[in-house]
Amino acid sequence: MTSADMGKAKSSSLYAPRKAIYPKEVEGEFRRIKWGLLAFTLSVYYLLPFVRWDRGPSAPSQAVLVDFPHRRFYFFFIEIWPQEVYYLTGLLILAALVLFLMNALAGRVWCGYLCPQTVWTDLYLAAERWIEGDARERARKDAGPRSTKIWREKIAKHALWLAIAWWTGGAWVLYFADAPTLVYKLATFQPGISEAYIWIGILTFTTYMLAGHMREQVCLYMCPWPRIQAALTDEYALNVTYRYDRGEPRMSLKQASALRLAGAPAGDCVDCGQCVAVCPTGVDIRKGASLGCVQCGLCIDACDAVMAKIGRSARLIAYDTQMNCERRGKGEAPVYKPLRARTIIYAALILAIGALMTLRLATREDAALSVLHDRNPLAVTLKDGSIRNAYTIRFANMSAEPRRFLLETSGVEDAEVEIVGVEPDAEGRMIVGVGADQTRETRVLVTWRGARRAKGQTPILFTSKELESDASVTMRDVFVTP
């Protein structure tokens, strides 16, 4: 440390203005993959609400629908009722595991290719380029005086951004109502859909701000993932890496060829700065792994183009590891180990949970029963000294036909079962009718007469048998003796 460094610093401003980043357009393999994924994910997002799925007259015919008023979630052939939200929990666990697996294999690939922030920012950048020109042109325009033409371009850009944002918010609300009807209502300004307008407003604003104005700052300051992934990754995970073993010492092309002619070693990097110019987060990948790098691979494309021009082999920047750079530097062979304890465990967990969920879905009953024992009082003594327990039993008919269920109990011998509001039929059977796609809540009184039994709990089973098909669901509870 020199004494000049020790000098007293001048006081600085409280805030750091954002350094504008002008990512340059680039072409290449990874850019093409990104375009493909962008087109795919956006079309899924915008078109999915319009996909129809016939479920008969008692349920909506939208393939993907979150139906809050009726508390149902529809996903193609799957219909999730509130008591089945564990499917969503399962999905979230699966999503987390897939993210972990991706991370163990190739770092933040999610960030670079599939994260909505990346996808929409890419879209916004494309719109910006289309109107205002590429990086250098935009930087020049922003630095120089504002002409009418530049103002017009700026206004056009923001209008286009807002239009995309509005379209984004508009598509969002279509997941919560019948899409064609809602589009018609929105287009004709029908009353009674103010909530939809509010949500469109919120999503328009956030999309415009996040993808238009905040961009890399979302990834750097707001997103927790870079912090988390740092704890999840290991030395074998592939990351976009500058192969310094091959690139250094960097020097101009002329110097390098002179050195090579003289038989001396020279690095491949010509210090052209293209990798930095195209980076959407303003990272210089040559400085090593960085929190700012979202693994989009665009610097690979940029550098590959340079390498092709100067006739050196591609992939001076590549999906590789720091460790391999070191090993190659020492003359050892690089190691690639996609199969490691953590990737195997993640993959096994994904398979297991996926299989479990598929199995649950495949063997799912379209009738359900829930039993809730009265908490207070747990048991009631009747006049003749016999004991009665009361239960709230809900029958769910998750099919498109009205059905009739027969309620039976076992476990407590000679129990007398009454359902409030349901008369037993001629044979003394208790039959509960439930409409299509509906539930019916009943109050069930179970009375145990006969000799006094010991204090405590006796298991009791409630079975609801579908009359026509004989399919049955059984729930377990207890009969309490005070």
Binding site: D5, S13, P377, K383
Partner: protein
């Protein structure tokens, strides 16, 4: 090894990051004074501005004579009133069906029944749970509404009448007013006789240790059977409990029974007719009736 902490104004520029330091130093590790991103600072100030606007727009500051009223006329009471209005709008169709359905038919209509039970449960929690308990399980002196013992009758009409006019609630002319006489206090029976009757009652209810006697049977006939019936099975019209079953409102030990005979009286329940509206009383009636299945 002790930590050396130093603080001085020797802030300087860190040569590696080109950022100013704060001058704080721990064991040679210094703290960078990295400035905040501008958007972050702007957001921070914007929230302060927003809070000022909020203070002006909404009732916020207490003053000597109440408080500032705000500019947009928002009031928590008005907001509650609006919510209540919305609620009754949502409940409207159910209340209408409830009003039009005869009491006896509601239980046979599944959808109406579950809506009415929900209404009744809420009304019960607000008005009745204080005495009868959250689950209507009752307590000493407060009947359990889940069992099959009904002092004043467990038919829908009986329950409704009890809710409307109360029990021994003098402010209501139609209240259920029959009261057990104080046989001891008023000198109709002496202590010995009371003890004999108590033994007799415990024998009639088949309680362990009960002692029936000829004198007890005679005393019962002369004094108790008018209301409780010759067989002691009680009488709904007079609220006279069945003395032969397993349920004892105030307890079944001899001392309690003797004290009840000596002092008479009974529980009091307020009349709800003037405090609850017609649909609520109807819903409560259904709710209570379905708790234990009524009579």
């Amino acid at each position: 090894m002790s930590t050396r902490q130093a603080h001085s104004d020797a802030a300087r520029i860190d040569p590696h990051s080109k950022t100013r330091t704060t001058g704080h130093e721990w064991d040679g590790i210094e703290e960078l004074d990295t400035p905040l991103p501008r958007w972050w600072v702007i957001t921070f100030y914007a929230t302060i501005l927003w809070s000022i606007g909020y203070f002006i727009a909404y009732p916020a500051l207490p003053t000597l004579s109440g408080g500032t009223q705000g500019l947009i006329g928002w009031h928590s009471r008005a907001s509650v009133a609006r919510d209540m209005e919305q609620l009754s709008e949502i409940r409207g169709p159910v209340l209408e069906r409830l009003a039009n359905a005869p009491l006896e038919e509601i239980e046979a209509r599944p959808q109406l029944l579950s809506a009415v039970r929900a209404l009744g449960a809420a009304a019960f929690a607000n008005n009745c749970a204080g005495c009868h308990g959250a689950g209507a399980q009752g307590a000493k002196g407060y009947p359990n509404l889940n069992d099959d013992d009904w002092l004043w009758g467990g038919k829908l009409a009986d329950i409704r009448r009890t809710i409307e006019h109360g029990v021994r609630w003098d402010a209501d002319k139609e209240t259920r007013s029959e009261t057990m006489p104080a046989f001891g206090r008023d000198g109709m029976l002496d202590a010995k006789q009371i003890s004999i009757v108590a033994d007799q009652l415990r024998a009639m209810a088949k309680l362990p240790g009960g002692k029936a006697s000829a004198q007890g049977a005679k005393l019962f006939d002369d004094n108790c059977s008018v209301c409780h019936g010759v067989d002691g099975k009680g009488n709904h019209d007079m609220g006279a409990p069945n003395l032969t079953d397993a349920l004892w409102l105030f307890g079944s030990d001899k001392e309690t029974i003797a004290s009840r005979i000596a002092n008479g009286g009974g529980g009091v329940m307020p009349a709800w007719k003037d405090r609850l509206d017609e649909p609520t009383i109807k819903a409560l009636t259904i709710y209570v009736h379905t708790l234990g299945g009524g009579e």
